[in-house]
Symmetry: C2
Subunit: 219 residues, 2 copies
């Protein structure tokens, strides 16, 4: 698997952030191809990007000639092709829990707060910014309340969401906490989430994936 | 794995519908525990359901004493524990594609149109029904446009989303087409989606999972 890896990414996209973490945890080299989601109506909506992803969304991981879409499916692929430093635990039962945690964020929080959704409110319904921001916070708080409970109630929770190494769940959680801070969510009710986020960000793989470390981040 | 399987389900929940299809494809016996999402403010929000799922969402698959949450994570679990009649193809590359198709629906269409989201618009923003319905159709059309392109552009597409047997992608697609019809989406632009939906519904596993066949469906 010596084919080149290129990640179509935007510094502030939390789905791209997940994949950057996964690639870094595996120690893989990859080129970042920045896709500016706001400039000029959004580069992801240009015909040039349609071959990369008919969904007009980042991230896309290009592996040789293959275009891989959907961040969780990309992370599972990375984990299967490069099995060292696994992103999923060893048993079906534990994998189920880690995937479910990842999906709390990736299915039930993030898609509701994605750029295209906020733009719909702004352009179709004229929802004012304070109400749009309250919407964003609402779904983060709903999701984090469940996520925190699922961590606190389970013996598998360790330094990270599952035991003592980062997993798919941590790849999703850390970017979502970044968004929560950005929108001013009070994180006091989620002590386990914040503790795990801090443990993750202390690792070079997570640190290098941070939005502000990306080549397309504003200077 | 002779422990009993119980599915906390609602007849019209498309996430529960996915899991019913998966269980049926595996030929597994399971008991349906109906959770009425509308009655009395929603049974999923009662304290009695919190142990089953802190997210207050269906489906939950109970396997012995384990509570398994998140439909895609449940389907992956079923596929790992009962590997016969696989829901995922044999290679990492093909699995990536099938998971990505499933996630187009499960991450980028369905969560935006979920009951709790529509209720937020109704109760917090007083969005009238015609605009709520237009919102639902908008995200289905966006998702289906990409899904159709991803099917048409790929040689792996067969009678089903991947070749000649149903997969995780079909488990997600068929319930989403059910929702599309319910909300009056014009399906003419998506001939491949409709062809695959019809092939699926001709199979007993899909037919028995239909909303109207469920014990909690209105008479």
């Amino acid at each position: 698997m010596s084919e080149a890896l290129c990640l179509h990414s935007y510094w502030r996209s939390s789905a791209a952030y997940r994949v950057r973490i996964g690639l870094n945890l595996k120690g893989l080299r990859y080129e970042i191809i920045p896709v500016h989601l706001l400039r000029d109506g959004g580069e992801q909506r240009k015909p040039a990007f349609a071959e990369a992803n008919p969904q007009k969304l980042v991230p896309v991981l290009q592996h040789g000639k293959r275009m891989l879409r959907q961040s969780l499916a990309i992370l599972e692929y990375i984990d299967e092709v490069w099995p060292e430093t696994p992103l999923l635990p060893a048993t079906a039962r534990d994998r189920q829990r880690v995937r479910a945690l990842a999906q709390v964020v990736a299915c039930d929080v993030h898609p509701l707060n994605n750029l295209r959704v906020i733009q719909y409110f702004e352009h179709e319904w004229n929802v004012p910014q304070p109400e749009r921001d309250a919407w964003v916070r609402h779904w983060i708080e709903e999701g984090f309340e469940a996520f925190e409970t699922m961590l606190q109630n389970h013996p598998a929770t360790g330094d990270f969401c599952d035991g003592h190494a980062p997993s798919l769940a941590d790849c999703c959680l850390v970017p979502q906490v970044y968004n929560a801070r950005r929108f001013g969510v009070d994180l006091t009710p989620y002590p386990t989430i914040v503790r795990i986020e801090q443990a993750c960000l202390a690792l070079p793989a997570f640190d290098a994936a941070r939005p502000e470390r990306q080549p397309d981040a504003p200077g």
